[in-house]
Symmetry: C2
Amino acid sequence: MSIFSKLSFKDKTFKLREQAVLDATTTLLASKGFDLMTMDDVAGEVGISKPSLYKHFKSKEDLATEVMIQLLDDALTYLDGQEPTLTSRERLENLLEWALRKRLEGGLPFLPSGSPHVREILTKSLRYLTRAYKLHKQLGQIVDSAKEAGELRTDLPTDVILFSYYSRTCDPAVDYMQLYGHYSADAIVRHMLTITFEGIAGSARS
Amino acid sequence: MSIFSKLSFKDKTFKLREQAVLDATTTLLASKGFDLMTMDDVAGEVGISKPSLYKHFKSKEDLATEVMIQLLDDALTYLDGQEPTLTSRERLENLLEWALRKRLEGGLPFLPSGSPHVREILTKSLRYLTRAYKLHKQLGQIVDSAKEAGELRTDLPTDVILFSYYSRTCDPAVDYMQLYGHYSADAIVRHMLTITFEGIAGSARS
DNA sequence: GTCTATATGGGGATAGAC
DNA sequence: GTCTATCCCCATATAGAC
């Protein structure tokens, strides 16, 4: 018997609505960005009034933070559920593919780092930072394993590899491929993986 | 005798002030982003009043657009001034290094593409688009030459390589290396070039 | 052309009725 | 808890005096 089933009907609908708000916010953040997204947009998208929105989330910043926290939780869950038989490099490739496909379906990249504003907001949330740190630590271990296995360059510091890896999830190249290049989701994912791991020169030079 | 010297003293100071406005805007755009930058910020930074600002630029969008146009002009000038003895790959490396160093000194990345808002503004400016297209076309030729010379992968479409290349100039990884990794400008440039051309796996795998 | 002072509008947040 | 109606700040943009 789950905790959820203990809730009254009213509480259930409240929770469901809350998730609808989070989903709508995710879509809006992905399309318009934080600064251009208005609380009216969110309320309108969900079909509720603005004051109702504020019963769930005390501010716009709070709402956006919750969305990002949920995203990091999803990423951590994905990492946790990966087959233990995978190599470290495969684990990194799979997670990146997961993030890119999510984004191509209208979702958010973790780290909407492009925006200094959003970054500032997120760094004020301890709950967000805890998860970001946890993810960073786990990925750091995977990168180190990959280095030992000869699957990643050893002449790049681990944190540099990680910063670059995160950045690929919010790479504007994805938008351009989709918007101007009309590439399929599969093609975009394939190209992004090549670019991330092998670079634009890659084997051509060796 | 330059055109400039024909201007009256008043016109000269007007032009000089205009450049000061553009410089201040560049710095502010780089640090705060378009949405958070206010016209009061710009006026205050330059030491003039807001109405004076509007004598130079008819709107905030116009101001930002001019800054971006100037940046593209600088890039085109840099490309034009490159030694003809350089290989195509070297030309790409040098331009990327030029852009990264400019950014590390507080300048703007061409394409502040992170922001959907700015992208929308820029696509409304014919003068901007003309320059962007010119740069895109020139770089496309260089990439094709590099492919023929075996300096770049041939299994990636040229436009994909270009989209990825542009994205490196505004890569958040640069911010993270600077902010959290405390890497020197030289180290950041070196790592970014490696990541761009050789990827994070690169030769480790071959 | 430069300023002080102000108009205008949008959007985050809330009061108060039901 | 939900809504309608409203507050109010802030930032873009301008009016009008000098």
